[in-house]
């Protein structure tokens, strides 16, 4: 497979996501312009110009009409996808670390960092009509996180809950009707870098700095599986068609030069979902992989790295032919 290399960013990639139908690929980086690409040929559709600093997170609604981004310039922005115009800008007190539309896109959630004397906050906004008024709207729900800050977040089942992953490794499920904790578990010992839902949203996978990725049930928050590596995991994604998990990671960017030069530190690593065993690796990046996403058809995936490149790789036939050896007894 010849991967497509997308070179639209000048700095490290922070997050990449496909839209629901998989024809568009969105990428955010530590430079100020998120990009959108046609996933089939890697042609760039446009850039979203407006942020004044690093863009930490982005999300696209299920109809591919709007995009939400959050960045280090203490703003959360909503964009019109067809024209690339900035519709609304929500000013926050500190930088926005995570933002996500709910499945129906009637609501969106964003979280801010604990910085500049401000606590970490989770805010839920109403996004049924997206226009300038959102800039001044007060969030429909907002609460403070007193202990370690939120580093990743996903929406739970039926848009009734959200699940936050924290710097200390905690996972908390919040009920949005009451704003209270439903479940709080601590299965990771270090920061949770990424959380992604399975195709049917019944499970989600976490990627943590403690060198593991773990699979949880979305509603009961029960730990299902664990994937161990020997390096911090920055991102993990679940295949929509096969029982496969892909993990990406590597050292922190600051530690890269001080460690062994052996190749393979920056590979995307494929694990079997059930057996928790690694079966394949794909090389490519010159630095740690920061974000991974499976194409919704499961026939390709994209990875964004610290080296600033996004690589879109379609799988060879050998990937689909591969079967995992195991005893049926």
């Amino acid at each position: 497979m010849k991967p497509l290399m997308l070179q639209g960013h000048e700095r490290a990639i922070t997050q990449i996501k496909y839209n629901r139908e998989g024809d568009l690929l969105f990428s955010a980086a530590k430079d100020s312009k998120p990009n959108v690409w046609w996933s089939l040929n890697g042609e760039r559709l446009g850039t979203f110009n407006g942020h004044g600093g690093v863009v930490w997170c982005l999300d696209v609604d299920w109809q591919t009409i709007n995009l939400i981004t959050g960045g280090g310039d203490s703003s959360c922005r909503l964009w019109d996808l067809e024209t690339g115009k900035n519709i609304a800008t929500i000013k926050t007190n500190s930088s926005v670390r995570t933002c996500n539309f709910s499945f129906s896109a009637y609501q969106a959630a964003y979280t801010t960092d604990k910085a500049m004397g401000r606590p970490c906050e989770v805010s839920i906004i109403d996004t049924r009509t997206i226009d300038e008024s959102i800039s001044t709207q007060t969030p429909i729900l907002k609460w403070e996180i007193t202990d370690s800050k939120v580093t990743s977040m996903v929406w739970g089942t039926l848009d009734e809950t959200i699940i936050t992953g924290h710097e200390a490794g905690d996972l908390i499920q919040w009920d949005l009707r009451t704003g209270k904790k439903v479940h709080s578990i601590k299965e990771h010992t270090h920061q949770i870098n990424d959380m992604q839902l399975s195709r049917d949203a019944t499970m989600f996978i976490t990627a943590s700095k403690d060198q593991t990725a773990k699979l949880f049930d979305t509603s009961s928050m029960e730990l299902l599986k664990e994937y161990k590596t020997e390096r911090p995991v920055n991102s993990a994604a679940l295949s929509p068609i096969l029982d496969h998990v892909v993990l990406g990671g590597g050292q922190d960017a600051m530690e890269v030069t001080t460690t062994s030069t052996r190749q393979g530190k920056f590979d995307a690593r494929f694990f079997h979902l059930v057996f928790e065993e690694e079966f394949g690796r794909v090389k490519g990046h010159f630095g740690p992989i920061n974000s991974l996403a499976f194409h919704p058809d499961g026939k390709s995936y994209a990875s964004g790295g610290e080296d600033g490149y996004v690589r879109v790789q379609s799988f060879d036939q050998s990937y689909f032919d591969y079967t995992f050896d195991y005893n049926r007894d």
């Binding site: 497979m1 010849k2 991967p3 497509l4 290399m5 997308l6 070179q7 639209g8 139908e21 024809d23 568009l24 312009k33 690409w37 046609w38 089939l40 040929n41 890697g42 042609e43 760039r44 559709l45 446009g46 850039t47 979203f48 110009n49 109809q63 591919t64 996808l81 067809e82 024209t83 690339g84 115009k85 062994s260 052996r262 494929f270 065993e277 690694e278 079966f279 394949g280 690796r281 794909v282 090389k283 490519g284 690589r311 790789q313 799988f315 060879d316 050998s318 990937y319 591969y322 050896d325």
Partner: protein
């Protein structure tokens, strides 16, 4: 009397002018392919011609995707032409997934590759002079047999020779365990299976892999078949390589097939030559 024509510019000047200007880029669309030709100067100030070939595909997609495909570009891409812009989109080299079959391999420590290069330390350094077993000569089971007498002298000699060689410096790549690394540096063509590889040329343009298989399958087990194909059309380029399992089968195939008529063409079959190192 001949009248001298006005000399508009001397040929020497023309060469000068030529060097400054680049031929205009061209774009040709023909039978499903778009060929874009550009000229530019590389780092050494030499003129370089860049030819990019794009394949134009038609796909049936859902209405919503088709509508999005008509969106015009915006932001920093607003001025891009239709089609991928080489400044932001590139195709990189082929990357294949490496499958990990055994568990041990995946859990190998980081510098495991280098372990083989260290001189072996754990190996048994003593040897029975009588039977070359891993025990002292004193405890040899053949101690009091004829064998002991006969072997004693001979064995003593060979161990002397051995110690002489082990004391010598051995370059890392010649040491045991280093050999694995050494072979991996060889050019890919120099693999061992090449000894049973044959090259079939003057094949018809319409030959496909199945035809080739039919042709050679009678001679013996085949390890690998490779039919060279035109990238864009998928037609055969006229030659193929066949790797047999056994060299004898390959020889038989050459003998029978060389000069054999196939699809109105006479096949030319020979041993596959290792690629020339240049």
């Amino acid at each position: 009397m001949p009248v001298a024509d006005d000399i508009q510019s001397s040929w020497a000047d023309e060469v000068e002018i030529d060097q400054g200007a680049l031929p205009p880029p061209s774009e040709v669309v023909e039978n499903g392919l778009k060929i874009v030709t550009e000229y530019k100067y590389d780092n050494d100030n030499k003129k370089v011609k860049i030819v990019r070939t794009y394949k134009i595909e038609k796909r049936v997609v859902s209405k919503s995707i088709a509508k999005r495909k008509t969106w015009s570009k915006f932001g920093d891409s607003a001025n891009d032409k239709p089609g991928p812009n080489p400044a932001t989109t590139n195709v990189s080299e082929d990357v294949f997934m490496q499958f990990i079959s055994s568990k041990e391999e995946s859990q190998r420590p980081d510098d495991g590759e280098l372990d083989g290069l260290k001189p072996p330390t754990s190996r048994v350094i003593f040897k029975c002079r009588t039977c070359q077993g891993d025990h002292w000569t004193l405890s040899c089971p053949f101690q009091h047999t004829e064998l002991a007498q006969a072997k004693a002298n001979e064995a003593a000699k060979s161990t002397d020779a051995k110690t002489a060689t082990t004391n010598k410096y051995v370059a890392p790549y010649l040491r045991e365990g280093g050999a694995g690394r050494g072979t991996s540096r060889e050019p890919p063509g120099a693999r061992r299976d090449d000894i049973a590889a044959i090259r079939i040329s003057n094949l018809s343009n319409f030959a496909v892999e199945a035809d080739l298989e039919d042709l050679v399958k009678g001679f013996g087990p085949v390890q690998k078949l490779y039919l060279a194909k035109e990238k864009s059309t998928g037609h055969c380029k006229g030659f193929a390589y066949v790797h047999f399992k056994f060299r004898a089968d390959a020889a038989k195939a050459i003998q029978t097939l060389n000069g054999h008529g196939y699809d109105h063409l006479i096949l030319n079959v020979e041993w596959s030559k290792p690629p020339q190192n240049n």
